[in-house]
């Protein structure tokens, strides 16, 4: 996003003017300035640490505590230094920082205003439960509304996202996390006003920090997990060079079929894994056989036909794969019972395996192999249609045809982009493979 449209710049400039208007009554407000400085530096320090340690959360509890404790103009000052000092990921840095500062300041001001109008400040001081919760809830709602409305505005102006789509879901998605932050902020405010003072209030942040840290850890761990699955597939590629990208494409086709059949998202994801991993058992087949050019003897064919069982043996210990494991075992079964390994018929074959079988055959036909050229997509679909009923489930074939008619076939092979250092196809004396 190098060039920012002029109207987005004007939007940010307008927001800055509005923010300054909100801050105008500052000289007349009686605010405990040391509290403003403390909260602002807490927020700035927290954001800096979060950026450096890759925490997932933002320090909204501090901002909301400010809104519950301070007069609105003073509370609006709290996020400003932190936002101005924060690191923007993309250019233009200055504009992004100013936009962030104005957005947060306005949101905090709105929250503070609502809280003040409902008499929340006195309720926090007493503390008058459960009325405190009502005032705080309204303030959190205002904060969330302001935040998402401004966010939707910039999306619509800078990225040319249609307004309706920019706003849809934004509010609903952010309400729950902001509400939890609001509770923590409320607890901070109540303890701050209590005899125990700010020291006790700061303790509230510690569990939140731990929670963010754990969240960041688990997303990192999940990324590593995906990489490991990909490594399983790449291990097959090491042995069987010419099927490169086949697994990923089968995964994509399986996903399209599953979505077309109206399965829920979790199941679609499992079927994608099923497609990606369907040939993982080829690891168990001797490399010489996989790379052999020319026709196979019946003996050799029998050895290769063991790969679904090998694959199942490998992935059966991975709990989250669920029915994808059955797909790995049965993706070479045929509806008429002439497939392998068990010769299951019709509905005995798990649904996931029927999906993967169609996706596998489709990609095998439309990609170039060492022994033949790729066929065009319509010819492949025609062939699939001919085999539907005997070999493939007609429902799955029809679903694939519908999905392709709507979306087209754009196989995106992510694995190829993300493999800078793979020792591809491994030559016997490859000492330099370490980097």
């Amino acid at each position: 996003m190098e060039a920012v449209p002029a109207r987005a710049r004007a939007y940010v400039a307008g927001l800055v003017v509005v923010t300054l208007c909100c801050l105008l009554p500052l000289p007349e407000t009686h605010a405990p300035w040391w509290a403003v400085v403390l909260l602002a530096s807490l927020y700035a320090g927290g954001e800096q640490a979060a950026a450096r340690r890759r925490f997932a959360g933002t320090f909204y509890p501090v901002l909301l505590a400010g809104a519950f404790l301070l007069p609105p103009p003073a509370a609006a000052l709290v996020p400003v230094p932190g936002a101005l000092l924060s690191r923007a990921e993309q250019r233009p840095h200055a504009l992004r920082r100013i936009w962030r500062a104005a957005q947060l300041a306005l949101a905090v001001w709105a929250a503070g205003r609502v809280h003040e109008a409902l008499g929340g400040q006195d309720a926090v001081r007493t503390p008058d439960f459960p009325y405190v919760l009502v005032a705080a809830g309204a303030a959190v709602l205002a904060f969330c509304l302001a935040l998402t409305a401004l966010e939707g505005g910039i999306l619509a102006l800078a990225e040319r996202v249609p307004v309706r789509r920019a706003w849809r879901g934004l509010f609903v998605r952010s309400l729950a996390p902001v509400a939890v932050h609001g509770l923590a902020g409320l607890m901070m405010a109540v303890l701050w006003r209590s005899p125990y003072g700010p020291v006790a209030a700061l303790l509230v942040l510690l569990p939140m920090c731990v929670s963010w840290w754990v969240f960041a850890q688990s997303s990192r761990e999940r990324a590593a997990h995906r990489a490991t699955i990909r490594a399983l597939v790449q291990a097959v590629d090491i042995k069987d060079g010419y099927t490169r990208g086949h697994s990923e494409r089968v995964g994509q086709a399986s996903m399209m079929i599953a979505r077309e059949l109206g399965m829920d998202d979790a199941r679609v994801e499992v079927l994608r894994f099923a497609g990606i991993l369907h040939d993982v058992g080829k690891l168990g087949v001797p490399t010489r056989l996989l790379r052999k050019d020319g026709p196979l003897t019946p003996e050799e064919r029998r050895v290769i036909e063991l790969h679904p069982e090998y694959g199942h043996e490998m992935v059966r210990g991975i709990g989250f794969l669920g029915e994808a494991r059955a797909a790995v075992l049965h993706h070479h079964e045929r509806l008429d019972g002439s497939g392998y390994p068990y010769g299951l018929m019709g509905s005995q074959i798990p649904e996931s395996a029927r999906v993967v079988a169609v996706a596998d055959a489709f990609d095998a036909m439309t990609s170039t192999r060492s022994y033949r050229r790729a066929r065009p997509v319509p010819a492949a679909l025609e062939e699939l249609g001919r085999c539907a009923g005997a070999q493939f489930d007609p429902r799955m074939v029809a679903a694939l045809v519908r999905a392709l008619a709507r979306e087209g076939w754009h196989p995106a092979v992510t694995a190829d982009e993300e493999r800078p250092g793979l020792p591809a196809p491994p030559v016997p004396d490859r000492q330099g493979a370490r980097r």
Binding site: P127, F129, P130, L133, V180, L183, L186, M187, V190, L191, P195, Y196, G197, P198, V199, A200, L203, V204, L206, P207, M208, V210, S211, V214, F215, S218, E221, A223, A224, H225, R226, A227, T228, R230, A231, L232, Q234, A235, I238, K239, V280, G281, L283, G284, T287, E313, M314, V315, G317, I318, G319, F320, G421, L422, P423, P426, R430, Q431, A433, R434
Partner: protein
């Protein structure tokens, strides 16, 4: 640090359990005799602890499995006032309430047959009793009356920190007596884990006690929600870790299914390496790296067109071993695991003086495993003897000695705790 073969001491476990049982029984008796003070408060905290315990997760390698339960129990132990009225409950009542709540919370876990419940209960009772005995009698006698405001908050925090430290020692002692692993590293791991969830438990315990003192029982649901979130995110983290470990184990089995290594080889090397690593006092993160590396140490063989006979890499010439190790390191780098795992896999065939400790362990254990395979009843002794003879260059002497100790101790039956 001296590491000697230690006999197992179930007596220490029994002692701790007996102490906890005695304490629990005594507290129950006293509470029944004197009657409950402030029942609504006791009930609210009891429910909180029960909810925390019900949400406890089992099986994962985490220090505090029920942070909400722990924080709730500790805050009840340190509760000095309720809505600005001084509280009157004593230490015995605290222990009795927490015990009852924890017992109720344990029922589903026992019913499902998961995890060592007794250790968990004993630790909970003893640590809560410690905090309560330190605080309640003095508070009820008015010793803390002149501690006001922030000083009081810091006092609570200090007491909690002390309690959690004691709990660490207790946990390390229990693990030590159960498994025979050296006490020092176990304690160090416990203390290190304290920085994460332990500090959150401390802070939450203090905040809850203070918040209830200010606003009354309203504080419990309000503050529970953020901590419940923490607990849930920890749970999800544990789940992700589990699937990740399963995936690595599957990747490790790829070489077995491909016929490059004997069945179960990677798993046995990983278990034995972990035991040796424990014996040598490696930290928990180091042990995790060691285990992953041991699981994947043969993965480089996938790049070979023909398998090495019986997967016995230890008998190959040095340069060939190093070549396979480098190929393995390249594959491991693709998997996105910690890069230090790839380093260990890469360097597993180097002479031991140039190796990191984990690579030394993998090398020696792998060689032992391969030599024992199919060697018959006298195999282990002959294999150890072979390794000892090669300690001049290939295998680190201290690792080989540690391996001998571990084998003598028969730690190969993997203990459930830990």
């Amino acid at each position: 640090m001296t590491v000697r073969p230690r006999p197992r001491r179930p007596s220490l476990t029994a002692l701790i359990h007996a102490g906890a049982a005695l304490l629990a029984g005594g507290s129950l008796a006293v509470t029944l005799w004197t009657g409950m003070e402030e029942r609504p408060t006791a009930l609210a905290f009891g429910v909180l602890v029960t909810v925390g315990e019900l949400n406890r997760w089992t099986g994962a390698r985490v220090r505090e499995a029920a942070p909400l339960g722990a924080a709730g129990a500790l805050s009840y132990a340190l509760l000095g006032a309720n809505a600005q009225e001084p509280s009157r409950h004593g230490a015995a009542q605290v222990v009795a309430v927490v015990l009852a709540a924890a017992l109720v919370g344990c029922v589903p876990h026992v019913a499902r047959g998961q995890g060592p419940v007794l250790d968990h209960l004993a630790r909970r009772v003893l640590s809560v009793a410690f905090a309560a005995v330190c605080f309640q009698p003095l508070y009820n006698r008015g010793v803390f009356d002149h501690w006001e405001g922030p000083a009081y908050a810091l006092l609570l925090l200090a007491l909690l920190a002390l309690t959690v430290l004691c709990d660490c020692v207790l946990a390390a002692a229990l693990a030590h007596s159960r498994t025979g692993w050296p006490f020092g590293p176990l304690l160090r791991d416990e203390l290190r884990a304290l920085l994460g969830i332990g500090s959150a438990v401390c802070a939450t315990g203090a905040v809850m006690a203070l918040a209830v003192a200010v606003v009354g029982l309203w504080a419990l649901p309000v503050f529970c929600l953020p901590l419940l979130l923490t607990q849930l995110s920890f749970r999800r983290y544990a789940a992700v870790r589990t699937t990740y470990r399963q995936t690595i184990a599957s990747l490790a089995r790829a070489t077995e299914i491909a016929g490059y290594t004997p069945p179960g080889h990677a798993r046995r090397v990983a278990e034995l390496s972990r035991a040796v690593g424990r014996d040598l006092g490696l930290t928990r993160p180091e042990l995790a790296v060691l285990e992953s590396a041991a699981l994947m140490h043969d993965i480089g063989q996938l790049s070979l067109v023909d398998p090495v006979p019986a997967g016995a890499t230890a008998d190959l010439p040095g340069p060939e071993q190093r070549r396979i190790a480098l190929l393995g390191g390249a594959v491991v780098r693709q998997t996105g695991v910690d890069p230090s795992v790839a380093v260990v896999v890469e360097r597993q065939a180097d002479p031991y003086r140039e190796q990191p400790v984990a690579a030394r362990i993998v090398r020696a254990v792998n060689a032992y495993e391969e030599k024992v395979q199919g060697a018959g009843p006298g195999g282990p002794l002959t294999a150890l003897e072979d390794l000892r003879l090669a300690t001049a260059g290939d295998y680190a002497p201290d690792v080989v000695e540690s391996l001998a100790r571990v084998l003598a101790r028969d730690c190969l039956t993997v203990p459930s705790a830990g």
